[in-house]
C-alpha cells in the first residue's frame, strides 16, 4: 500500500512514521511589518515545533551531516537530545565543537552543508538542522543556564589571535579548552568582527553575538579591543612578549570599488561602511546614537551577494522608497543565499538584473543624483563556470539615486602582512598557508578565514579556526 506525502512524492508507509511529519516552518515577521523595523525576521521554533522537527531525524548509523559541517557538530546527538526534550543538553553537545551555535544556527548556509547531505533530502525535505541548532542555543541563553565545561589545567603556553571575528573566536575557544592562554587582539571597539559590523540586526541580533562572546570570556579567552596589530604591536613584538604562536584572522576587510567616474561623490558608500555605520555604530538609531547615516529615498546597491542583500534590506528599513539591487548577471548566478534573495523580494526590493553601472552623476554639491548603467547579456562561461556578462553597446540608461552602496566584494587588508617580514602573500594579498593546517611561511604563525580564502562564509572561517587549533596544538605539543 502506498500513500502520497505532502510534496507529492510517493513513500512507503511502513518505512517510517517519522517521514510523515513535514519539515517545520519557522514563523517570521510579515514583510510589511518587518521592513519598518530592525528586529530579527525569523522568530525561531517553539519547544513543540522543535521536538516535532527533531523527530524527523532518522538517526542514521553513518550520518553524512557531520561530515557536511565544517566544525564537526555532532548533529544526530544534539537532535536526539531535542527529541528527548533535553534542550540544555542539546546546547551543550553543540558547544562541544561549536563555540557560536546561536550565530551558526542563523547565518550558516545549511542548505549547502549539513542539510545538503541529509538523507531525508533525497526524497523530500532535509531535517531543519540550522533551525534546531538555533533553537537549542537560544533555549540555553534565554533560560540563563549557561554552563562552563571543565577545563584542563593551564599548560603555560600563550597564543595570540589577531581578529575577534568568527575564525578568531573559534580558535581561541578551542585553544583554551586545550589548556592554552588565548588572547584575542581586536582592532575595533567590539568583538565579533563581521558578526557585529557586517551582518544586520534583523539577521543576527547583536545581543546574541555578545552572549556568545561572553561565553568565550567565561571560558577564559581574553579579548583586547582597540588593538590594531601592525600598529600598536607587530607580530614579532608579540613573540618577544612571550606568545608561543600567533593566529591571523583579520578577514578580508578592505572594500573593493569599481573605479568608475564619480565613485567618490557624496552619498556613495562601500557596503563595509554602510553596514558598519548601521550595525556596529547603530546609525539606524541616530540621533539617539551619534553616528549618522544617509537615509536615501532612492538607494541602489551594486552586487548580488549576501552583503548586497543585507545592504539593500537595510536601506529599506532606513526608509528608502525605492531600493534596487543592480546586478550584472541574472538571479540564477547570484551568490547570495536563496533565502536572503527571497526575503529581499518579499520586502519589495527591486531587482535590476543584467545591469551594470558605468558612471555616477552628481549635483553642484557633489552629491550623487544619478547612476548611468549599461544593459548586459550573458556570454560564454568564465573561469568560475558562470556565464560572463557582456555589455550591450548603446544600451546605457540613467537611474535616479540619492544613495549608492557598492557591494562588489572585498580584498585583503594589508596592515598585518605588511608589518610581518617573511609572511608570504599571494598576488591578491591573501596569506599563503599549507593545506588545511593554516600554517604560514613563518613557523609559529598560522592564518585562516577570509584573509586566506578571500571573502567566504562565517562557518568556513570557523572551520579554518578549528583546523588551525589542531595544527597549532600539535606543533606546540612537539616543542
Amino acid at each position: 500500500m502506498k500513500n502520497t506525502s505532502v510534496d507529492g512524492m510517493e513513500t512507503e508507509e511502513k518505512k517510517s512514521k517519522k517521514e510523515k511529519i513535514p519539515r517545520q516552518q519557522m514563523p517570521e515577521q510579515t514583510p510589511g511589518v518587518r521592513v519598518k523595523n530592525f528586529d530579527e525576521v525569523p522568530l525561531g521554533y517553539s519547544e513543540e515545533t522543535a521536538v516535532l522537527e527533531a523527530k524527523r531525524c532518522i538517526q542514521c548509523k553513518k550520518p553524512g551531516c557531520i561530515a557536511g559541517c565544517p566544525v564537526d557538530v555532532k548533529i544526530p546527538e544534539f537532535i536526539q537530545a531535542i527529541t528527548d526534550g533535553k534542550f540544555l543538553e542539546a546546547a551543550h553537545i553543540l558547544k562541544e565543537t561549536n563555540s557560536l551555535p546561536a550565530v551558526c544556527g542563523r547565518v550558516c548556509p545549511q542548505e549547502e552543508q549539513c542539510e545538503k547531505v541529509c538523507i531525508l533530502g533525497k526524497k523530500g525535505d532535509p531535517v531543519a538542522i540550522g533551525r534546531l541548532e538555533r533553537f537549542a542555543a537560544d533555549y540555553e541563553r534565554k533560560t540563563g543556564q549557561i554552563s562552563i565545561p571543565d577545563l584542563p589545567a593551564p599548560n603555560g603556553k600563550k597564543i595570540a589571535v589577531i581578529g575577534a571575528g568568527p575564525s578568531g573566536l573559534t580558535i581561541a575557544g578551542d585553544l583554551v579548552k586545550l589548556g592554552y592562554a588565548a588572547t584575542i587582539f581586536e582592532g575595533l571597539h567590539k568583538a565579533g568582527g563581521v558578526l557585529v559590523y557586517g551582518i544586520p540586526e534583523f539577521r543576527l541580533p547583536k545581543a546574541i553575538v555578545e552572549a556568545e562572546v561572553d561565553y568565550l570570556k567565561k571560558l577564559g579567552v581574553k579579548i583586547e579591543t582597540n588593538a590594531v596589530i601592525g600598529r600598536i604591536a607587530t607580530i614579532d613584538e608579540l613573540f618577544a612578549e612571550g606568545y608561543d604562536a600567533v593566529y591571523i584572522a583579520v578577514g578580508a576587510g578592505a572594500p573593493v570599488f569599481m573605479n568608475i567616474p564619480g565613485e567618490n561623490l557624496s552619498g556613495i558608500y562601500s557596503a563595509n561602511e554602510y553596514l558598519t555605520r548601521s550595525n556596529l555604530m547603530k546609525a539606524y538609531l541616530f540621533p539617539e546614537y551619534d553616528t549618522p547615516i544617509v537615509r536615501g529615498r532612492n538607494v541602489a546597491v551594486i552586487g548580488g551577494g549576501n552583503v548586497a542583500m543585507d545592504s539593500v534590506r537595510t536601506a529599506l528599513r532606513l526608509g528608502a522608497e525605492n531600493a534596487y539591487i543592480i546586478y550584472r548577471r541574472t538571479e540564477v548566478e547570484m551568490p547570495a543565499r536563496k533565502e536572503e534573495v527571497h526575503h529581499a523580494h518579499e520586502e519589495g526590493v527591486q531587482f535590476k538584473l543584467l545591469t551594470n553601472p558605468v558612471e555616477y552623476i552628481g549635483d553642484e554639491k557633489a552629491w550623487v543624483t544619478g547612476m548611468k548603467c549599461i544593459r548586459m547579456e550573458l556570454g560564454e562561461p568564465d573561469a568560475s563556470g558562470r556565464r560572463s556578462p557582456v555589455p550591450i553597446e548603446g544600451s546605457e540608461f540613467v537611474i535616479d539615486v540619492d544613495a549608492v552602496v557598492v557591494a562588489v566584494g572585498t580584498m585583503a587588508n594589508p596592515i598585518v602582512p605588511a608589518t610581518t617580514p617573511g609572511l608570504e602573500t599571494n598576488r591578491r594579498g591573501y596569506i599563503v598557508v599549507k593545506g588545511e593546517s593554516g600554517e604560514t611561511t613563518r613557523p609559529g604563525i598560522y592564518a585562516g578565514g577570509d584573509i586566506v580564502t578571500g571573502a567566504a562564509t562565517v562557518i568556513l572561517a570557523m572551520g579554518a579556526g578549528k583546523q588551525a587549533a589542531r595544527a597549532m596544538h600539535a606543533y606546540l605539543s612537539g616543542k
Binding site: 590594531v228 600598529r231 557624496s266 555604530m281 539617539e288 549618522p292
Partner: protein, 278 residues
C-alpha cells in the same frame, strides 16, 4: 577605558586633554592619530596625537567643538573616562633632515603641526613656523610652537595679534624675501591647505598636508575617508594621513566633509536642548 588626567581650555571652543593610554604613548610616532569613543552610543572620532609621555603613560589630544560629540567631550572632566581609544593609527610622518623647512598651522591645525615641527626640529632641520587663527583669542600653542621652532611667525585674520592677514601671505612674503625653503608642512582648514598648495606649486616646493576626512573604522575597512590624490583614490587612514598637497583634490575633500552637515546640526541642536533620546 581611558581616563582624562588633565584638561585645559585653549580657547573658547578648543580643548586640550591628556589621556591615560600607556601602550599608545610608548608606540606613537609624530603624525599618527587615534580614534576615540565617549561611550556606547558615541561616534568614532579621529584625532591627531599632539604629544605623548611614555613615562607617564599619557597622550595629548586637542579638539575643537564643532558638533554634538565634540561638545559633549568638552563637557567631560578630569577623572572621567572615554570608553575606547584606538591607536596609534595612520603612517608616521617621514622625519628626516631636509634643511630649512616651514611648518604652517591654521586654527586647531596648530595642534596637528606641533608634533611634526618638534620631530623635524629634533632631526636637525631649521624650522620656520607660521601659525594663524581668525583672531587672537583663538590662537593656540604659541609658546609650545616657539620652543620647537627656530623662528615663529604669528598671523591673525583680523590683525588682533601678530601679522594682519593669512598664513599663506606670510609664506608668500618669506618666499619673496628669498628664504630658501626645502619643504612645507601645512595643516589646517581645507581652504588654507588648498591655498598653500597652490602657492607653493609654481615654486616647486614640496608641500605635505595632513588630511582630516570623515572616518569610521580607521583601519582601511570602510573607505569613508577616501580622497583623490594624483587622480587615484586613496584611504586617508591607511595610506595617509599625510599626502603630497600638490596632488590632493581639496574640493572633493570639502564636499565629502559636508556629507552629514544636516544630520549633525539636528543632533547638535537636540544635544544643546538637553535632548537625551529615548
Amino acid at each position: 577605558m581611558n581616563k582624562i588626567v588633565e584638561k585645559v581650555a585653549l580657547s573658547e571652543n578648543v580643548v586640550k586633554m591628556i589621556l591615560e593610554a600607556p601602550a599608545i604613548a610608548r608606540k606613537r610616532k609624530a603624525g599618527q592619530f587615534i580614534v576615540l569613543l565617549m561611550d556606547e552610543k558615541g561616534e568614532r572620532i579621529p584625532l591627531t596625537i599632539v604629544d605623548s609621555d611614555p613615562e607617564r603613560g599619557a597622550i595629548t589630544i586637542i579638539f575643537q567643538v564643532v558638533g554634538k560629540t565634540t561638545a559633549a567631550m568638552a563637557a567631560m572632566k578630569v577623572d572621567d573616562y572615554f570608553s575606547d581609544v584606538q591607536g596609534p593609527l595612520g603612517n608616521p610622518t617621514d622625519i628626516k633632515k631636509i634643511g630649512q623647512i616651514v611648518c604652517i598651522g591654521g586654527g586647531v591645525g596648530v595642534g596637528v603641526v606641533y608634533p611634526l615641527a618638534a620631530a623635524l626640529k629634533q632631526a636637525g632641520n631649521r624650522v620656520i613656523s607660521i601659525i594663524g587663527a581668525r583672531t587672537k583669542d583663538l590662537l593656540i600653542l604659541e609658546e609650545e610652537m616657539k620652543q620647537v621652532s627656530d623662528r615663529l611667525i604669528v598671523a591673525t585674520d583680523d590683525g588682533s595679534y601678530g601679522f594682519h592677514g593669512f598664513v599663506s601671505t606670510v609664506l608668500q612674503n618669506l618666499i619673496d624675501a628669498g628664504e630658501k625653503i626645502e619643504e612645507v608642512f601645512a595643516i589646517g582648514p581645507v581652504p588654507m591647505m588648498k591655498v598653500i598648495a597652490n602657492l607653493t606649486r609654481p615654486y616647486g616646493i614640496k608641500t605635505v598636508v595632513s588630511l582630516n576626512p570623515i572616518m569610521v573604522d580607521a583601519t582601511g575597512m570602510c573607505g569613508a575617508c577616501r580622497v583623490s590624490v594624483g587622480g587615484k583614490t586613496r584611504f586617508t587612514c591607511v595610506d595617509g594621513p599625510e599626502f603630497d598637497g600638490h596632488q590632493v583634490d581639496f574640493d572633493l575633500l570639502t564636499s565629502r566633509l559636508r556629507m552629514y552637515c544636516d544630520q549633525e546640526s539636528v543632533a547638535y541642536e537636540k544635544h544643546k536642548c538637553g535632548w537625551h533620546g529615548n
